[in-house]
Symmetry: C2
Subunit: 476 residues, 2 copies
């Protein structure tokens, strides 16, 4: 396989330097940044090669993010072949594209050959097809075929994230033969935690963990100690599903197989950790009404990604407004209602968001299923009624005292209980229904939940108030 930077040693040497890179708070020190900035300005390649090439790829990534855009490019150019391109997998997409787009394709082709295949794919996949082809054309045949195959798998699939370098042996080898092979072969992947067992057509037969090899006598055959690869991952499997397998079965690495059950690569836990982070982040951002945003996105890109959600919200806000406008006469009669009505809507919205957040998360982690849905719905309704009673009591007392009108207190308290019930039902049923119909509950639940609590909040409060005012008028 390919020659590569030795990250292990790089990171070792980095230990001495590291204390000088990060401050107490884990942020890159201003002094280190100034030092590197000065070396870039002076085009002092010696200093840069000495102080930057010892950095771990993630540290170099942090450094790139902290530098100014023009400094980043200058750094990459000044370091030449000493620049560790795997650092580009650690930075925001916008920064990665900015660097890669400004480098000649020949230099990227050179750099890509020194990377693990998963890192190479990570960098190549964001480029347009033309640049991809030009870069791939400059690679040796086997490299090209391998990267092409990874890139041909769908986005966010296991095939995109896998490493195509792995160790595989036939089942009839002994442990001794295997160890001797590992000692002699100079083309081993940088890091590996299991040895795969394959037949002559590369069909996957099993795997042996390294600790198993080490605790077994030399004469024993591989097939006697190998375990079936119970968790072989199809290359087309979505990375999120693959991550779930890793989590559930505490895997360190898993074989990736093509549609003919042939071994094509290995997925490792460090890539999966990134996927887990990403997926959790995605849910959080979606619930906040933002899409795949990064901090380095431009104003235009950020605005474009956020406006659609605001437009939907504008639509639902008009629905609420039209509900209120039906009660113009009542509000004119008693203007205190205008001041109090947002309280009912706001608290309902927050209670609904609480239930919805728990539901969306439980769906994502598969903690919520048909076996407990009924029980959870009952619980949410009970909690809604209980919290509704607490909040309604306080709200009713304060509103009644504020406007010297106990009846108004009763009206708002009753509306509050109704809206808390609506919030509980909406907060759990909306995500459940969206999930059932194949929509992502993280994206759209909060629009619908708040729409319901707004509409029910205004409607309940204003119609109860109207009824009570007329009752008063009729009695009077």
């Amino acid at each position: 396989m390919e020659a590569r930077h030795d990250h292990t040693h790089g990171a070792d040497a980095a230990d001495a330097v590291r204390a000088e890179i990060y401050g107490e708070d884990g942020v890159i020190l201003a002094s280190f940044l100034a030092h590197i900035g000065a070396a870039i300005a002076d085009r002092d390649t010696l200093t840069l090669k000495r102080d930057v090439s010892v950095l771990h790829q993630s540290e170099l990534g942090h450094l790139l993010e902290a530098l100014l855009p023009e400094q980043r490019l200058a750094l990459v150019e000044l370091m030449g072949s000493d620049f560790d391109f795997s650092a580009l997998t650690e930075v925001d997409e916008a920064i990665r594209l900015d660097i890669v787009d400004n480098l000649p394709n020949a230099q990227i082709a050179q750099a890509v050959q020194e990377l693990d295949s998963d890192d190479a794919v990570y960098i190549l996949e964001d480029l347009d097809a033309e640049d991809q082809d030009e870069i791939l054309a400059q690679l040796p045949f086997t490299e090209r075929i391998r990267l092409r195959r990874s890139l041909d798998y769908p986005e966010e699939s296991a095939g995109r994230r896998m490493q195509t370098e792995f160790v595989a042996v036939p089942p009839f080898w002994t442990i001794g033969q295997t160890i001797d092979y590992l000692r002699d072969d100079k083309d081993l992947p940088d890091r590996f935690s299991q040895v795969f067992v394959i037949d002559p057509s590369f069909k996957l037969l099993g795997a042996v963990d390294l600790d198993q090899i080490l605790r077994t006598k030399r004469a024993i055959k591989i097939e006697e100690v190998m375990h079936e690869t119970r968790h072989a991952i199809p290359a087309t499997m979505d990375q999120e599903e693959a991550a779930r397998e890793f989590e559930q079965y505490d895997l360190l690495s898993a074989a990736v197989v093509d549609e003919n059950e042939r071994l094509v690569g290995v997925l490792t836990i460090d890539d999966v950790v990134d996927v887990i982070q990403q997926e959790a982040e995605e849910d959080l951002l979606r619930m906040g009404g933002v899409g795949d945003e990064e901090l380095s996105d431009t104003v235009a890109a950020t605005s474009r990604s956020r406006v659609p959600w605001l437009l939907v919200n504008l639509g639902t806000a008009f629905i609420s407004a039209s509900v209120i406008s039906q009660f113009g006469a009542t509000i004119e009669e008693m203007v205190a209602l205008a001041a109090l009505m947002p309280i009912v809507a706001s608290l309902g919205g927050n209670a609904g968001t609480q239930t919805m957040t728990v539901t969306v998360r439980a769906l994502a982690t598969r903690d919520l299923d048909i076996y407990n849905a009924g029980r959870v719905i009952r619980r949410e309704v009970m909690v809604g009624l209980l919290n509704g009673a607490v909040i309604a009591t306080i709200l009713g007392l304060v509103a009644g005292l504020w406007f010297h009108n106990p009846d108004l207190g009763f009206v708002i308290a009753a509306a509050m209980v109704l809206n808390m019930l609506a919030a509980a039902l909406g907060g759990i049923l909306i995500p459940l229904l969206l999930d059932k119909f194949g929509a992502d509950p993280a994206i759209s639940s909060s629009i619908f939940t708040t729409m319901i609590t707004d509409v029910i909040g205004f409607l309940a409060f204003l119609s109860l108030a109207t009824w009570w005012l007329h009752l008063g008028a009729a009695a009077g």
Copy 2:
């Protein structure tokens, strides 16, 4: 070390069964659940031992969660020593406590001895001190000392999550000696991915990855191939910080050391994956206004954890209401304002939530720091103005047409732009300030951000409207 269930083989055999456990959607099949339920009802221990002991601990965890509370206890009792207690680390805390509290301490002591130390600590740490002491007293001396030490470390520290079983050798051993030792020692931990190197006082000198041992000649000394353990984790380090080290440096396992740099345990990536999940989940739940909730919590516990946030929200809602009540005369004069004012507040709230979500997440992942804060603040302000212009234009047009009043359209549009600007500033500055003063921005940012957008929204719209009405009155 201790005798244990062989999980590898258990999981292997489980492969055949697994297809029958989970349906297409990853949820436990009703048929499997009915089968186990019937066996429990019939007290058919033979069937249970055959079909349940092949399950992976996570599968057994899912099964427990799907069973009724009384079935769970019956299952544990019927399976006796064949029940894999590590499954208890995979279920909700409420379920774990329910099972453990209902078992005799002697049985728990028996079970704990068969677990990895990290799983044992996970189960013991939730018990009250009295039960802990009683269980620990029934364990052999070394076990007891080890678990006691782990439990003495603070909650959520690396010391609590570490495994105290590890492989350590002296630096002067050769690779050959090390392999022979691994082949002969029957007391090895179940799984390990590196061998630690220590001096006679257990002081950590370094580590060797297993793949490194396998590719090195027998005659070479350990000290020649070991690398310094650059990422040794102090046992008192917070688990979240330890997880960040694993993520940044792609570690599979790391040595845990005490205050004298002596090796006390090993932290492995599978435990760290759980921590990463938990931390991401915590942020999501906190932003949704819920604390450490679990689906199996009771109504009372859930209500108790959610009411405080609703009470704070009630307080801020009264502030908004008091702002509105200042403009009673204006609203009486033009009741359309009452219908339109929630639109300005609601859209500001959503825009503020968008900015705040991005900011809170970026702070959690340390993507936002002093080097880009200025740029990000500028970007958010620009996005706020741009999106404000888009939304204000549409809102102004629709409101003007709806109430046949173009001036009203201008007033609401101007108020909308002002509130979007307030939303952008609030959404980024509030989490930044909370973070700077050591508060968790995930918990309190959304209260303050929505308070600002509500108050500014109502204030801007109603005061502009008042000014414009008076202008009209003065002109007329």
